[in-house]
Structures are given as C-alpha cells and as structure tokens.
C-alpha cells in the first residue's frame, strides 16, 4: 500500500480554553475522495486550518505524503503538497480572475527569474496560457479578465476551486465547494471533481450536501465537538444513530 496522502494523529486544538479539536486521528488515502462532515461548529474548518497551518496545533502531528508538516510555516505547506479552498470565499477582489489564478500558481513559479519576468508584456506567456486553459475547462473562460469583486457568489466559489487546483498540489482540501450552487451547477461541480480525482488527485471535502458527498466520496469522517464520532462508507455512517442525532436529523429522506 502506498503512503497515505494525509495522516492526522492525535490532533489537539483549543481556543481560549475551549477544546475545538480533541484527539483527532484519521487518514486520507491517496488518489481518493474523502469527506469530512459534521454539525456546525464541529471543527471541520479548524481541521483545514490546522493542516494548512493557519493555526499551530496544540498537540499531535500532521503528515502530508509521508512528510511531517506539523511545524512547517503555513506558506511552506502548499509546497509540501496540500492546497485548499475557503469556506468564506477569499479571492482578491481587486485583481482580475486571471490574476487570482496566477497568484495560485506561485509555488510552481517562485524562482527569482519567474518573479521578475515581465510576463504581462510577453504575449501568450506560458503561465497565462495555463490559467486560461484551466478556466475554460471549468466553463468560466468568459470571466478571465473580469474583476473578481463584481462576480456572483457561485462563480467566485468556482474560481476559488480552480485557484486551489492550480497550485499543483496533489492533495486538495475543499471547504463546502457546493455551497451556494444550484443543483444543476452542483452537478457540473461533481463532474469537475470526479475528473480531478480521476487524474489521481486526493480530495478531502467538507460538505453539508449529502447527495453530493455520496456521489463523490467513498469514505467519510464524521466530527462532533471536535471529536471523530464515526468513520467509514457514507451509507453505513448514515445509519449510525449518533450521526443521525447530531448531524443528519431524522426527517432526512
């Protein structure tokens, strides 16, 4: 068996004395999609923040592709192979869509030469071409030169996703990618994600839409109050009374 893409072991995190993550361990296998679900405030986004280094851990360790990144500064984590999107969209509103994507490419274009090449003067520069292609692929080509701030929520949400994929990381953490999309757009997103997975990317997805999760992820990890309360295939986990009570509710389906 290959090394898992992401291994969290014994993670601990408290905010002002409140334990937001408690002794959390789970593994994300390579090349597959795994979902992280749980009620509001369970700590899902916090897990993302710990893995990407926004917060330091209070205890435990994080391995990405077999490397220990627990003490790595946040800006190095993306280089270790893990990129993320954001629950509250965090695009740079004054930049154009294309420029946002160029920022996303930074890890792969960080040499001094790349930094100082006047790429905007060179027509059809390779990084621009790549970013445009990625936009076309997700059906957003027409927005390339728009300023991000004015775009509708759903479009921005998808740009955020494209930006995360452009970092070239092989583990993607997506925080509620389908939120704010209507069902048909959700379908398009599903195809997009399945295509990414088919390319061998590892996905860790936080999502509240169970149909969506069902159609992408083989495995789910359920959090409640910062603790793992269940893990396994969604169809099995769904039957777990603890999960039903805390998360799905009884009137679902």
């Amino acid at each position: 068996m290959s090394t898992p893409a992401l291994v969290l072991s014994g993670l601990e995190k408290s905010f002002a004395g409140v334990r937001a993550i408690r002794n959390l361990s789970f593994t994300v296998p390579k090349g597959r999609a795994t979902a992280l679900i749980g009620p509001n405030g369970a700590g899902k986004t916090t897990v993302f923040n710990l893995v990407s280094g926004v917060y330091g851990v209070d205890g435990g360790s994080i391995h990405v592709n077999g490397t220990d990144v627990t003490r790595l500064p946040s800006r190095r984590r993306i280089r270790a192979g893990v990129a993320r999107s954001f629950q509250n969209i965090r695009l740079m509103p004054h930049l154009s869509v294309l420029e946002n994507l160029l920022v996303g490419q930074h890890v792969r274009a960080s040499s001094l030469a790349a930094l100082l090449t006047p790429y905007r003067i060179i027509p059809n520069h390779r990084w621009k071409r790549e970013a445009r292609a990625a936009l076309e692929e997700s059906g957003l080509g027409q927005y390339a030169d728009e300023t991000v701030g004015a775009l509708p929520y759903g479009v921005r949400k998808r740009i955020d996703l494209v930006r995360a994929t452009l970092a070239g990381a092989d583990v993607l953490m997506l925080d509620e990618p389908a939120a704010g999309l209507n069902p048909s757009e959700t379908n398009a997103l599903r195809d997009h994600l399945n295509a990414l997975a088919a390319r061998g990317l590892t996905l860790l997805i936080v999502e509240h839409d169970m149909h969506f999760v069902d159609s992408i992820c083989e495995n789910v990890v359920v959090l409640n109050f910062g603790e793992k309360i269940a893990e396994g295939r969604l169809s099995d986990v769904r039957k777990d009374p603890k999960v039903r009570e805390a998360y799905i509710g009884t009137d679902e389906e």
């Binding site: 930049l95 100082l116 003067i121």
Partner: protein, 279 residues
Amino acid sequence: MSGYLTGVLVVLSFNIMAAYAVYLPLAAGQLNLGIAGFMAIGAYAAAYLTNELGWSLWTAIPAGSAAAGLVGLIIGIPVLRTHGIYLALATFALGQVIAAIFLNLDVVGAAAGYPVATYAAPPVVFAATAGVVLVMLLLSRTRYALYLTAVKSDPTVADLMGISVRGIQVSAFALGAAVAGFGGAFYAHHYSFIEAQHFNVLLSVFTVLYVLFGGVQTVWGPLAGAIFFTLVPEVLRASDQWRYALFAFFIIIFMALRPQGLVTASLFRVFRRKPGAAA
C-alpha cells in the same frame, strides 16, 4: 531649453523619484510616511562619499541608494510587524527620528547643513529619472508587482498560496527606500546643499499626497500625480498669495469628483477595449 523650464523639470524629476519611492510599498499596502528620512539617508551618504572620501558621482549615488535600501531593510523587518495606520505612524516616527539624527550629526554639518561639492547637471538628473520610471514600468509587468497587490489585498491567503508575505513586504519597503535614497543622492548633488530640515514630515506627506492623487491602481498614477503637483502650482504662480489656497481647493474638488485618483485601472481597460469594439 529655457532656464525656467530646466528648473521646473528638475523639480519634477525629484518629485517623480520620490513618488515611486512611496508607490512601491503602497502597492503592497504600506503607507510610508517616512520617505523623506530615506531620501535624507541617500543624500547624506552619497554626499559624504563624494565630499570626504572623494568617490565619483557614479559610485557614490548607487552607494547612497544602497545605504537607504539597507537601512530600509534592517528597519523594515521590525517595523513591518505593524499594520495599517500603525505602520503609517511608525514610518512617520521613523522619518522624524532619521531627520533628527542628521540634524545632530556633526560630521555632516548638523543643523548648519552640508554643502556638496560634486555637481550633477540637469541632463544627468533627467536621465536618472527616466531610468527609474522605466524600471518601475517593467517591474509593474512582473509577478512581483502582482504579489504586491495580492499581499495588500489578502495577506492571509497570499501566505497560504505559498507567497512569503514578509519577504514581499520587506522587499517592497526596502526597494522604496532605495529609490528614495537614489532620488535623495541626486538631490544632494544637484542642489549642492542639503539640510536635515528639508527632509521633514511635510515632504513625506506631500509625496504621499500626490501619489494618491495620481492614483495607485496603475504605475502611471505616481507619474501623473507628480506632474500635476509640480506644474499646477507653476500655472497658479500668477495668483500670488491665493496660489496654495486655490491649489488645495482644486485638490479637494478634484478628489471629490474622482476619488480613485487621476489614473485608474478602468481608464486603461477602456483604452484596451476600444480596438476590440471597433473590430
């Protein structure tokens, strides 16, 4: 060229260099209100080198610029721990402290000022300014410039994208300081005399003023702002004592009508669209 025009263009040149010194860190979200301090460092360092150590202009001026950049680098590291208005005030304080140090530094004349023997004639000053503008134009077309904006607009995310936010911030600050020092070094050798009192807060603040007035969305803004701020008072020369009052009044009205500054990004977008629309 007429003597008057030469005089005005020289003033314009120094204003342009100062404007870009303010613009660079501003593009990364740092309002540097201490730019005069860095000009003073460049001016005094270069003047000291030509006066006392007999260096030539061509080595002393880069050295003065480097000295200002280096001080910017060393001071930037702690000072850039602050953000926003705190940063602006920290740089303001920094400028005051630097000027006060020169005011008391006897090797360079202290309060009596420091005459400079070597002379940089107007054409040299013009060439240097053109060089600064060209470098800025090129720089604005690079990823570096893109990252300046990224760091300004969302440092947290820029960091998560792998960008060294500190690196960008400190380098922008130091580069701005180096440009200021470059301008200062030329100032010293053109006007043949420097005094610490010249490098005061108002110099810093007014430089910031015309950069913002020109607009910070594009590289052309500082240039436009500097031109405006140099030429308009000349045009108003005839109005005598009302000159500055009129000038200020004009600024207020203009900014109320065009808050984003003289040159904006959308202005360029309009230009770029035109050929497309025609086709």
